[in-house]
Amino acid sequence: MSSHTHNAASSLQPVPTPRQAGRQALRKPESSLHAYARSFLHNRNAMLGLTVIVLMVLAAVFAEQITGYSPTQMNPAQSRQPPSADHWLGTDQLGRDVFARVLHGARTSIYVGVAASLLETLLGTVLGAIAGYMRGPIDGILMRISEVVMTFPNLILVMIFVSLLGQGVNNVVLVFALSGWMTTFRLVRSEFMSLREETFVEATRSFGYSRPRIVFKHMLPNALSPIVVAFTINIAHYIIAEAGLSFLGLGVPVTTPTWGNLLSAAESSEVMKSYWWLWVAPALAIIIFVTGINFVGDGLRDVLDPKTRRTPVRKILRDNLLGKRVES
């Protein structure tokens, strides 16, 4: 009887030996990147934001096919036409199709935002990691440099750089990175300084791990979520900054359509009142794209840091409508 029940039990559930169980557990059923991707896909807000961004990027890439107009093709006879079936978002004073200009503008604006944020994050992260881990004189020198850069009003600094480097899309990217790296630098530096004192980092030193292994394998992943969140939110920030700079005529040369250059059409109150489609279209494009970016940024934070609470949609909308302080 007893042997019978034993057989039944073992045929139902073969019990692995501890050795098998150990090998099984260490076989990595799923890489952590995989797990992050999976939980990102299940985050509704993040997916919404990502969808919006992807759609806008696709629209920018296939701008010619979608609109059927060239952004530079002028038609004085069709000047300042309101939206119609021919021109979905109307035409500007030179008779150019606004929809085509918004989509082509998206190319430059998104490129500037992503490139500037990427360069800035890279610069800030590398310098911040060095300063935070090494401390001492290196940290002192980098801190003083960042303080000097920060004492200049940002706009003046940007104008100085622009006058030194000249206008141009890539110069704008460079100017933004050079004038904005301090916030990421300080963020990463303080993360590294506190991580350095964590017991697990101390443990890696007691294990004799190499410095690159400690910094990049153990410290950086633990500092990554604020960096990634700052990176995405900075994309939004630089898109807006580009718009502002171009509005002042200091950004991308006016011959290239960008959202900022399009917006500068609203400089006159006549345009503001009578030709609303000229500025509403690029403004809406900026708002939608920036909101999408922020959704993705918040979703990333939820995914990357399992300990933080999910951001309610309410809060994301409020932050985007009332403006979010990037530096905090």
Partner: protein, 344 residues
């Protein structure tokens, strides 16, 4: 230090000091030192368990960190047996340092922060093994399973993240991680003080069993007289960065000669009415480790203080009893009698 005959010496520290400079003002002027460890001699034999006992701030944690080479000593010499007898490892680097880092494993006080929160615990142990030369992943998995069995962690749990474990489990995993590379010495810094009493017993028992099986040496740093006595062969009592008494753990209660050790022992609560002693209540606070009292560091609170205690610092010497392990740093010609057991 005597008392380790018949046991091969593994690690020896001589005249070890660790001062932390105190700086004040805009110019960061050096105004003094926190003398956390102030001239400690210590020897650990192979397979020996030594407890370091003392209250908060006595320098026992700093001593452990210096011995694990997480801090550089201000002065003194560290000698470790890396295969050819004791050799100086105070400032060693490169391959000798790497060998030392495998042979000496530190286990930290706080089990909640001693694992990388983004790394599965199994991977954390596997990484240590692979850095220290175990290349085959199957071998690593088998070794990890082995050490997990030693500390009663189910191998299935290895793919979890640290935050999914309780404090006791994490401390056992820390022990498993340290053990995985077959160390010769484990520096256990207050490893049970963050845990519940019932879990403390579990962790200490595991460490004791492991010690019996692997003959690893253990430096057990603790403020708990009972735990220190239970796990160790020798107990070193520290006060203000100095060793005031070294005793055989088995006879710690009966043979303690230093007034400070006696006070520590009398403070241990006991359920056994017949073993209850009169509490010795120390007056005043521990003096600042920046401005230490002259002479004997304990003279400001000692009830047997003599004139010589204020002037001359007592050195560790053999105690009055016959126990060759027993040393004490006290000027008293006769050890004060422990208060008699209180009979009901």
């Amino acid at each position: 230090m005597t008392g380790t005959e018949a046991i091969a010496s593994l690690y020896r520290a001589s005249k070890l000091t660790k001062y932390f400079p105190v700086r004040r003002g805009v110019l960061r002027r050096h105004v003094g030192d926190v003398k956390a460890v102030d001239g400690v001699d210590l020897e650990i034999g192979r397979g020996e368990t030594v407890a370091v006992l003392g209250e908060s701030g006595c320098g026992k944690t700093t001593l452990g960190r210096v011995l694990a080479r997480l801090e550089r000593p201000t002065s003194g010499v560290l000698e470790y047996d890396l295969g050819q007898g004791l050799e100086d490892v105070t400032r060693t680097s490169g391959s000798d340092e790497f060998a030392f880092r495998q042979r000496v494993q530190m286990i930290f006080q706080d089990p909640y922060t001693s694992f990388n929160p983004r790394q599965r615990v199994g991977d954390a142990i596997a990484e240590l093994l692979s850095v220290h030369g175990m290349d085959s992943s199957e071998q690593r998995a088998d070794r990890i399973t082995e050490v997990c069995e030693m500390v009663n962690i189910r191998p299935e749990y290895l793919q979890r993240y640290p935050h999914e474990f309780s404090g006791g489990q994490r401390q056992r995993l820390s022990i498993a991680r340290g053990l995985s590379v077959r160390p010769e010495l484990i520096v256990a810094d207050e490893i049970v003080s963050a845990l519940d009493v019932s879990i403390q017993a579990q962790v200490v028992n595991i460490l004791r069993t492991v010690q019996g099986e692997t003959r690893v040496s253990i430096l057990f740093i603790s403020h708990d007289v009972g735990v220190a006595q239970y796990i160790s062969r020798r107990t070193m009592v520290m006060y203000l960065g100095k060793v005031v008494e070294v005793l055989n753990s088995a006879t710690l209660h009966e043979r303690a000669e230093h007034p400070y050790t006696q006070a520590l022992i009398s403070a241990v609560p006991t359920m056994d009415e017949t073993a209850r002693r009169e509490r010795i209540v120390l007056r005043g606070d521990v003096p600042s480790p920046i401005n230490k009292p002259s002479g004997c560091p304990f003279h400001t609170r000692c009830s047997y203080v003599m004139e010589v205690c204020r002037v001359e610092e007592p050195l560790l010497r053999a105690a009055r009893d016959a126990d060759h392990l027993h040393q004490v740093a006290c000027h008293l010609p006769e050890p004060p009698a422990m208060s008699p057991l209180r009979r009901q």
